[in-house]
Assembly symmetry: C2
Homo-oligomer: 139 residues x 2
Amino acid sequence: MRLSTKGRYGVTAMIHLATYFNKGPVSLKDIAQELDYSEAYMEQLFAALKKERLVASQRGAKGGYSLAKDPSDITVGEIIKALEGPIEFSSCVGGTENFKCKKSTHCVTKEVWEQVNDSINNVIDHITLGDLLKKYDTN
Amino acid sequence: MRLSTKGRYGVTAMIHLATYFNKGPVSLKDIAQELDYSEAYMEQLFAALKKERLVASQRGAKGGYSLAKDPSDITVGEIIKALEGPIEFSSCVGGTENFKCKKSTHCVTKEVWEQVNDSINNVIDHITLGDLLKKYDTN
DNA sequence: GGATATTCCGAGTGGAATAGTAGGGATTAT
DNA sequence: ATAATCCCTACTATTCCACTCGGAATATCC
């Protein structure tokens, strides 16, 4: 039960990008080198981040990626969900799965999973890159 | 990003067992049939639950499993952790991994993961089988 | 004491997901 | 033109998940 590397890499890379906010685009090559990630793999992550309009891209020489918004307007939750899809600690939530609830045991557990999901979302949706930058600067 | 079936099956099965508390052991066969899970797979789960002393076993004919404690003394968190190991939304928590933190970016993210882990644990460690049984009964 | 019901144990397996690679095409600054 | 960069699709190796399988040990019942 853990986040995949996408979420971790993504958040870390976005913090890195945030430190260059309003200083022009940063190339994937630079990001990958700085954080010691695979550049080709990062391409995939940034494609997803761009799709959700969290980053903007500049093609060609001297191009790269930059934050699409102010760091304080981007939450960790948005980044994670862009890369990994919605947070679901367990299923039988949201009604997508056709579960047998004949004994209602399942429905009792459903409440548990919902509480967990809510608490996770409550944390990650309220931490912005701006918050993290502050801590970063004071280190 | 979700719990595996072990956690789900385990919690559901334990609620089922709780409804038979103090009524003698229930065989895996019965549990598996009732909940429509694979019996052989459940064996593995119950081995782990027994190891953590959440259930007690009775071998031989008329044997089976029973809760090792009062339902109100068993939390959902204990069950999940017995089956899936500790909750780690992301790593770089607990210091087991030797991460490069030269830019301190990683350490900023570490706080995020810790907050998420804490919030998950806070939910699942405070819901007992007893709590769930009450809801189950009033349905 | 033999048939039967059960837990216990270790190993194996097929499929899905993860974590990348690889190769080329499109765009832009210089 | 050239070099740097993003863009896109497909491929691959490894790991993890959700089981299955075969048998041994133990207890009950007749």
